[in-house]
Amino acid sequence: MWTIIRDICVVVFLLGGAFFYFVGVVGLIRMPDVFSRIHATSKCDTMGAGLIFIGMIIWQGFTMVSLNILIVLIFVWLTNPTAAHYIAKSEYMRRQDKPKSLDEAGD
């Protein structure tokens, strides 16, 4: 009985994670510019990875492997917004610093 409940939980979490990844991809295609696209990918990836990893932890039970998965989850949650921040910042700065003409650069 418990294994059936566990399996159902795992399937729900995995499908939920896949759904949020799907929404992220649709957002990437539908959103109009770089910044709005980053919104879609960074948030949906975070949630999608979270749900899939939680599903895997439930599947594994409380073992060393699930501790590994938990650490990878924390790593992803820390690095995902940082990567999004860097892409956004570089695009923002590119728009701020318009290329100077050769004459101005020589001054």
Binding site: V26, K43, P81
Partner: protein, 171 residues
């Protein structure tokens, strides 16, 4: 004297980073053998040396304390709530028939003074509904919002209060 103290705290930060990397390595490698430990220590040492000038010293982060740990748990709880909220909001926007967005840039005042807390707060802003941190400095954070009201929600919101409480926890 002051320089010495700064060097001292930097060495402590380096040691802390080294130890956490070794523990991280040992947890990820499924078995403990002497060659695994040596390779792990060497790799951690290289990472610490490579990032030596990026380490936070005592003045740039909140000191560890029980009160701080509790405040940090509150932050984690609120960030998880915000991630779930943000995702359901995005699902509504992205899968809606028309994209109901009005993207704009805005500035919010920087409520924190310590560098590590500022970067954590910027990360948390990226995960809150409809907002994305673009640039961070001592007085302000430039934020891109999918709708102007998301920017207003951020000012003096629960997340900012949690971070301010965390920063004040070591006083």
């Amino acid at each position: 004297m002051r320089v010495n103290k700064k060097k001292h705290t930097k060495a402590f930060s380096a040691l802390l980073l080294f130890l956490s990397l070794v523990v991280f390595w040992l947890i990820l490698s499924s078995h403990v053998a002497w060659e695994v430990v040596i390779v792990g220590m060497a790799a951690s040492c290289i990472v610490v040396l490579y990032n030596l000038n990026l380490l936070f010293d005592e003045t740039e982060r909140t000191r560890l304390s029980f009160k701080g740990a509790w405040a940090f748990c509150v932050i984690c709880y609120r960030v998880v709530i915000q991630i779930v909220k943000a995702n359901f909001q995005l699902v509504k926007i992205i899968l809606g028939k028309r994209l109901t967005i009005d993207p704009k840039f805005g500035e919010i005042p920087q409520p924190l003074t310590k560098a590590l807390n500022q970067s954590l707060y910027a990360n948390a802003i990226t995960l809150t509904p409809g907002t994305l941190s673009i640039d961070v400095d001592q007085d302000r954070i430039i934020v891109h919002a999918l709708k102007p009201e998301y920017l207003e929600e951020l000012k003096d919101g629960p997340l900012e209060q949690a971070f301010v409480a965390y920063e004040r926890s070591d006083k």
